[in-house]
């Protein structure tokens, strides 16, 4: 091994050690990634442009030619150059399509948009009470409740949420699951339980997002849901959950109007 080899090896080894993530970052990113997964976050990935793919195809081919013997390089270069541009473009087109399909596949794994809340006949005395507008946004109102309603608290196993980060994540997964099952009341109960068991967890933003979504599911007044969404946006301006909260809190047209639109669409078809 030459001195240069040795120097290169030692610098690379030192750089690898220097590149290692700080001790606490692994756990932090893990918590954030897992909760983003649990909440169905979709990460868009860029697709390379076709022209840049064609250019890369051309450059790759030229590099391969240059790597060969000089004579072969000249001959193959002369023969291949005319076709390389078109070939490179065709390959780029194909790869671009494949990537676009992959992109669609990712999008298709996105969580279902929460449907409009279904107006049921009053299921309980509490459910039929209109929310006072002065009570502030639904999320903070729900947060201010120290405990879940008695009937909910009785239904949630108090010992089901141990006090650690993994447990916090598992609890949030359950919240997500019940939200997808369109059961915002249970979601709120679970969140309240979590707040009691783990008052200062690491996933405050995720909790807030889930609570805002649940609150908007439970609330019918457009002004209140809009406020819930805007206050969430103020608290977490760069949050990846903003679109989902906005979708859950978007005003829903009245049922009659929805039915009318549906019948119009059906008639057009």
């Amino acid at each position: 091994m030459t001195d240069t080899d040795e120097l290169e090896r030692s610098v690379i080894e030192a750089a690898r050690r220097g590149f290692a993530p700080p001790a606490d970052v692994g756990a932090r990113v893990r918590s954030r990634a897992f909760s983003a997964i649990a909440l169905g976050t979709v990460v868009p990935l860029p697709t390379e442009g076709l022209l840049s793919r064609a250019r890369n195809g051309l450059l790759d081919t030229l590099e391969a030619l240059r790597a060969g013997p000089a004579r072969a390089r000249l001959l193959m270069g002369a023969l291949a150059l005319s076709g390389v541009g078109i070939g490179g473009y065709a390959l780029g087109l194909r790869a671009g399509r494949a990537e676009a399909q992959a992109g669609r596949a990712v999008v298709s794994t996105a969580p279902r948009a929460l449907p409009a809340p279904v107006q049921l006949a009053a299921s309980s005395a509490e459910s039929s009470e209109p929310l006072p507008p002065q009570a502030g946004n639904a999320a903070s109102r729900l947060q201010s409740r120290a405990h879940a309603p008695p009937e909910l608290a009785a239904n949630v196993a108090p010992s089901s949420i141990p006090v650690d980060a993994d447990a916090e994540l598992r609890a949030l997964r359950r919240v997500e699951r019940v939200l997808r099952e369109h059961n915002p009341r249970l979601a709120v109960a679970l969140l309240n339980e979590l707040d009691r068991e783990v008052p200062r967890g690491k996933l405050a933003e995720e909790r807030d997002a889930a609570r805002s979504i649940a609150a908007c599911e439970l609330e019918s007044a457009a002004s209140v849901t809009a406020r819930t969404a805007s206050e969430f946006a103020e608290r977490h301006p760069g949050s990846v959950y903003l679109p989902r909260v906005a979708r859950a809190c978007a005003p829903q047209p009245p049922a009659a109007e929805r039915n009318e639109r549906a019948s119009e669409t059906h008639t057009k078809q």
């Binding site: 240069t4 750089a15 220097g18 993530p21 979709v42 990935l45 809340p117 107006q119 239904n155 009341r185």
Partner: protein, 196 residues
């Protein structure tokens, strides 16, 4: 008040407690498997993101995005390549997005990182941080294609066939790029030695 389709009152009293337990049980197996994958590959993902020029402030977000995408696409992993090279395919695209986003925002700040451990430490640690800074500046000076080969072939020590497979380039192309990247790296090392 608007209600969900399945209000809590619709469930038997005992079912919600068992619901919690059942959901926890079904989640735990998947979560454990993914946690193992995360533990194994997180340092690799982190190093590659740094090597590929993701800014220090965005590293955690980028690493998070990588694992979210890995989770989303894991079902489509066919085993044609190693899991590590498959993950790198995601890393390079996430890194590309972050670099492009930084450029679009007009960030003219250099991509080099602050030392990870700014506090004074043992000599070896300082040397590691200095070496990481040097390698990072060098990698940031390369074009995208050479940088990827450098990160995989030199920094991560993958074999050339693995590099070729990961980057979807012919074997000869990978050899050529690697040779050039190594030459440039050695030249940079020599210059550094001369300066010091």
């Amino acid at each position: 008040m608007a209600w969900g389709r399945r209000p809590i009152e619709a469930l038997p009293t005992s079912s919600t407690a068992s619901l919690s337990a059942a959901l926890a049980a079904s989640d735990s197996a998947d979560e454990a498997a993914f946690a193992a994958l995360y533990a194994e590959h997180f340092p690799f993902v982190w190093r590659c993101l740094r090597g590929l020029g993701v800014a220090a402030a965005a590293l955690e977000d980028a690493a998070q995005d990588v694992f979210v995408v890995v989770h989303q696409r894991l079902a489509s992993f066919q085993g044609d390549s190693t899991l590590r090279t498959w993950i790198f395919g995601i890393v390079r695209r996430v890194a590309h997005r972050y670099r492009r986003s930084a450029q679009r925002k007009g960030s003219t700040a250099p991509l080099e990182h602050e030392p990870v451990s700014p506090e004074p430490g043992p000599l070896e640690k300082v040397q590691d941080v200095q070496a990481a800074g040097f390698v990072e500046r060098f990698a940031n000076g390369l074009d995208d294609r050479k940088r990827e080969v450098f990160v995989l072939g030199i920094l991560e020590g993958l074999s050339v066939p693995e590099v070729a497979e990961t980057l979807h380039v012919p074997l000869n192309t990978a050899y050529t790029r690697l040779r050039r990247a190594r030459l440039e790296f050695r030249r940079a090392l020599e210059q550094r030695a001369e300066r010091s």
